[in-house]
Subunit: 256 residues, 4 copies
């Protein structure tokens, strides 16, 4: 039986500033919790961990760049040593809340510019993988399917989860169409659902160029920052269920 994890970023509020919709939680099986660098703060992290445990979703750290002003979305020229230290720090901070609340941390998914940069830069990807392994080798590393993050995770002996996107188009080489291209985003929700079903059932995706290419799909990235996103998540969740696909968090011990 096919199975898939649905993940979304969570816990991205900061101080008085609210971001994110709790309504997404019934439709995802894992959340990536901001750790205070690009978003989140200690109070928010605690509440978010409590909420994740209450909803029974898998908990992951979502480390990002130390750039609250840019929400961790801006490319920064960081060294692998800096990335290593940033990731160790953030995993540890979240792990303490998870432990204090009696939960379990299952995974790590880099955020924003760190995710995108490490997807292509082997040295940064290795810094992330090494940080995860050094803190807890049983953690699963989430990264873009087919990217350097996945390669580095495997090289460091980590279980990995290949992430795919419902609302992004793919190139013939399996990479995402750059956002600068107007065709990068799939606005049509029917198309987005269809793409996910194909990726999960057939392990293939039709590229923008019209070729069906192989893709690994362990987890689908969803958004929880507005109500439309929540409705789409519900719709995708139901479509997957109706196809008989098991929607469940990636298990630590399951593969590889």
């Amino acid at each position: 039986m096919r199975m898939i994890d649905l993940n979304c970023d969570f816990g991205e509020s900061f101080g008085v500033y609210q971001l994110g919709q709790e309504g997404i939680l019934p439709y995802v099986t894992s959340v990536n919790i901001a750790c205070g660098f690009h978003a989140g703060d200690p109070l928010v992290m605690r509440r978010t961990v409590q909420l994740a445990i209450h909803h029974g979703v898998a908990i992951g750290a979502h480390p990002g760049f130390p750039d609250l002003l840019g929400f961790g979305r801006r490319v920064m020229a960081v060294s692998p040593e800096e990335v290593y230290a940033y990731v160790v720090y953030q995993i540890g901070a979240l792990a303490a809340f998870v432990k204090a609340e009696g939960g379990t941390m299952t995974h790590v998914k880099p955020h924003g510019a760190l995710y995108n940069m490490a997807a292509k830069d082997a040295a940064l990807a290795e810094a992330i993988a090494k940080a995860v392994r050094d803190v807890d080798p049983s953690l699963i590393l989430y990264g873009l399917a087919g990217s350097e993050i996945i390669r580095a995770g495997r090289a460091y002996g980590l279980r990995t989860a290949s992430e795919v996107f419902a609302d992004r188009t793919y190139q013939d080489d399996g990479s995402l169409t750059p956002r600068s291209d107007p065709r990068a985003i799939i606005a049509d929700e029917d198309e987005a659902v269809k793409q996910v079903l194909m990726m999960v059932r057939d392990r293939r995706v039709r590229s923008l160029q019209g070729t069906d290419i192989a893709i690994e799909a362990d987890t689908v990235c969803l958004h929880g920052d507005n109500e439309q996103a929540v409705r789409f998540a519900q719709r995708l969740y139901e479509a997957l269920r109706n196809e008989g696909i098991a929607i469940q968090a990636v298990r630590r011990e399951e593969r590889r």
Copy 2:
């Protein structure tokens, strides 16, 4: 045989900014490492943990207020909930570096205004003790001898270490003379050494008012931010050794 721990704050550099003298390390048995709130950053924390392991000193977290500009020394009106979350976060962040480097974290000592406020405020002291216990109940809580921190630590089942000061005078009730009083600081190094010896050997201190009062002394706070402080540490270290006092880190299992 009498024994005493000598501790100092460490790892208080930030980015390009350097603070602290490595030369203090031979004369202390435990270090309190800044965790990125009032000082320290991920790269500094990693290097500091490596250094502490190399020198064989006990490693503690040194959580402070999120006030880099004020070095965590400014009183802030924080709630117990905030303090709890700040302490959990910072212990976790440091713990990850300690684990990655193969070391062991032994203790937690609050920093600056947090230390001073919690020494007198039972609710804040309990928030700290609860945070330590929730993350790792085997950690030793360092706090001002006779303060609310020590009381809260015991109430939460933690091992505690009562901290005394070489260069501060005491009041009849065992509290430190406020810094606003010109007699608060012991400038004469002979006097400072003598005070420590009396505290360690006799478990008593002569108050500013001339009374000998009982004091618990598990650890002495030293400074490592300038060369004179390092020289004083060396002198105190040798004076204690010459008295046959065992200078060693507080042991987790030793008492209580």
Copy 3:
């Protein structure tokens, strides 16, 4: 003819985080713009200044504590020298945007804990007044009616604007009922409107104890952070207009 200014805090977004309702702008005559310490960032400040100019409302700086996490609402033990420097810095930063956009800055209103502390602490109030005077002596200093801020502003030769609150009750001595008292807030909008009309027309307010006491009312503090607040602002605006009261920004040259 009686006249009154209606002011609200504005420009309190930060990075991706949105706060505040533009819909408040038709119902206020002056805005206090966050300057990047407790809220606001350079892009937000620029857009906010453009918006204020577009709506023809008077522009003021809204300096706060360097505590984004606490939104500048937490008491911090700052020295008058620190407060002076924080206020100079923030006025200057906003002034540059106002100048770049071809507008005029008219006033300064301290934010949050800085406002509350300086209302009672003469040394902090003087630090603020001195900062305003040193940067631009034609700026109007907004502060709690009857407070140390108003006294300090006058002592430093500044024009001042005494601020009153629609939704807060007053004590016999003219101070605000502390928020710890359940009667501190006026939840009934009829009562709130009535209180403002009495303050503006009669320069009196009925204290919680039932006494009519004298109060200066140059400006009323409104909130713009949710839709209910905007509706109340509209209602108050209309009530004042129906009473024939001129609703206009405080003029620099008008008095004193």
Copy 4:
């Protein structure tokens, strides 16, 4: 008669962290003062402005990226709109201290990664030039000789100051040898002094390839962060004076 300005970055302390040597001040004619983003804080800025006025050196703003952890040296993917707003903000903040102290701000020199990026990126250079012009068109824009910053400054009607380096080698096209090249730095102080004298007297520099190329030299960048740098500054100062070269700050009205 030939004339030259000697400038150095200044006011780069932060909170308890000290950086920079006051001893540099007798040997420079202008300072670039950090504005709180990559370094500096309000108290430091005030003291630095006072010091600059006391020593009679020209005062400039030294805006950088909002990256205290990286000291503004890390490339960040910022938009021209962000750069514009960052520069307006920082100039304004410093201008307020200069005004409060009764001084005059004369120039703006971008810092670190912002300087380097804008030297090559016309859109960022224009954002900086526009920000300077919008806040105060009489300010002089300092930038790398021959760079986009100088071009943009002229295009926006600003007086510019072409900056050269004593301790960096140049390429045939007038650009600096990248730091990745081991020959980028001139370690020999005799060579460094000789290069400056040639640049100032002959308006030429010998490239790493051995060609004498034309270069504009209005100001020389010196360092003030350690004692060796101060000694080199003194030596260069004396060498220039002995050659009869006038060492003086760039004058606003002098050229163009």
